[in-house]
C-alpha cells in the first residue's frame, strides 16, 4: 500500500516560492488570509474553483497539491469500482460488448497502469 501522504502540501509549495498567506489569498481572490491558513492546517477543504486557482498559482497538479486527499478519494473509488465490477460479472449475460467495455474500464481503475509503463 502507498505510504499515507499529508492531506495537502500547500504550505510546502507556498514557502518554497517565498509567498506569504496574504499574497496567496490575493492570488486566490480571497479577502483575507484566513482561508489559506485553514487550508494549510487541514481544517477546511477548498472548493473546485479554488483548487484550479491553486494549481495555477503553484504550477502543480491538484493530485500533488492535495496528495493525501487524492490518495483517500482514489482508494474509495477503487473499492467502489471493484464492487461494481463484481455486480456486472454476476449478471446473467456479462459477455456482451458494452459490459466488457465497462469491465475493462473498471479493471483499469482498480489496477491502474504505472505512469512509467504508460510512457514507454
Amino acid at each position: 500500500m502507498a505510504h499515507p501522504r499529508l492531506q495537502n502540501y500547500l504550505r510546502t509549495h507556498r514557502r518554497r516560492h517565498g509567498l506569504s498567506q496574504t499574497e496567496v489569498a490575493i492570488l486566490l481572490g480571497a479577502a483575507t488570509d484566513t482561508k489559506v491558513s485553514r487550508y494549510e492546517n487541514f481544517t477546511r477543504m477548498p472548493v473546485a474553483l479554488t483548487v484550479f486557482a491553486l494549481e495555477t498559482v503553484f504550477n502543480q497538479p491538484a493530485s500533488e497539491l492535495f496528495a493525501g486527499k487524492y490518495q483517500a478519494v482514489r482508494l474509495a473509488v477503487q473499492e467502489r469500482a471493484e464492487r461494481l465490477a463484481e455486480r456486472l460479472s454476476a449478471r446473467p449475460a456479462p459477455h456482451d460488448k458494452k459490459t466488457l467495455r465497462k469491465l475493462a474500464l473498471l479493471r483499469a481503475i482498480v489496477e491502474p497502469i504505472p505512469i512509467t509503463a504508460r510512457r514507454s
Binding site: P4, R5, L6, Y9, T12, R16, G18, N41
Partner: protein, 167 residues
C-alpha cells in the same frame, strides 16, 4: 511502534527559547521547517509544541540529537527534555537518536565539521532555506535561533541517509 522504513522524518532541535523543526519526506524532499517559540526555557511547553508537530505531520520517524554521544554538548535542561520526548513519543513513533559522527557524515568533512559550514552546505542542498541562513557567528555573539532549523535539518538528513544505507 511503527515499521522501520522511513518515509516521513520529523527532526526537532530545542534551543533556549523554543524548538526548531524540519520535516523531510521520501528521498529528502523538504516539506516544512521553522521555529516554534516557547517564550522562555520551558520544557513542558516545548514538549507540547513537539506533540502538536507530531499530531500535524504524523511522521514515521522522530529524529533527535543523541545527547549522550561523544561530542554532544547540550545543557542539562535540554538533555532532560530530549530524554522525556524520546520516552513519551517512543510508543507512537520510531525515535532515532542521531550522533555527532552521523551528523558530520552528511557531507564533505572539512565543511560539515562546524555548524556554520553544515548550515551553508544544507542551504545549498535545500535552496528554499537560503533566506533562513544566519550570518556566520562571531565568537562574542550568541547563537542565532535560526541555526536550530539547520541543526534539525542535519538530524533529518543524517537519519534518512542512515536508513537508506541500511536498506
Amino acid at each position: 511502534m511503527r515499521k522501520e522504513t522511513a518515509k516521513r522524518v520529523l527532526a526537532v532541535d530545542p534551543y533556549s527559547r523554543g524548538v526548531g523543526f524540519v520535516v523531510l519526506e521520501g528521498q529528502g524532499r523538504l516539506i516544512d521547517w521553522g521555529l516554534r517559540s516557547t517564550g522562555k526555557a520551558d520544557n513542558a511547553k516545548a514538549a507540547r509544541v513537539i506533540d502538536k508537530l507530531i499530531d500535524r505531520f504524523r511522521p514515521d520517524v522522530l529524529a533527535l540529537e543523541d545527547w549522550d554521544s561523544a561530542g554532544a554538548r547540550r545543557c542539562k535542561r535540554v538533555e532532560r527534555l530530549l530524554d522525556r520526548i524520546a520516552a513519551k513519543e517512543g510508543p507512537r513513533v520510531l525515535v532515532r537518536l542521531i550522533t555527532r559522527r552521523q551528523i558530520c557524515a552528511i557531507g564533505p568533512l572539512p565543511q560539515t565539521g562546524t555548524k556554520d559550514g553544515r548550515a551553508c552546505f544544507l542551504a545549498e542542498r535545500f535552496p528554499e532555506l537560503q533566506p533562513f541562513l544566519p550570518p556566520p557567528r562571531k565568537t562574542w555573539d550568541p547563537e542565532d535561533d535560526r541555526m536550530s532549523v539547520f541543526d534539525a535539518l542535519s538530524f533529518a538528513v543524517a537519519c534518512s541517509e542512515t536508513a537508506r544505507k541500511t536498506e
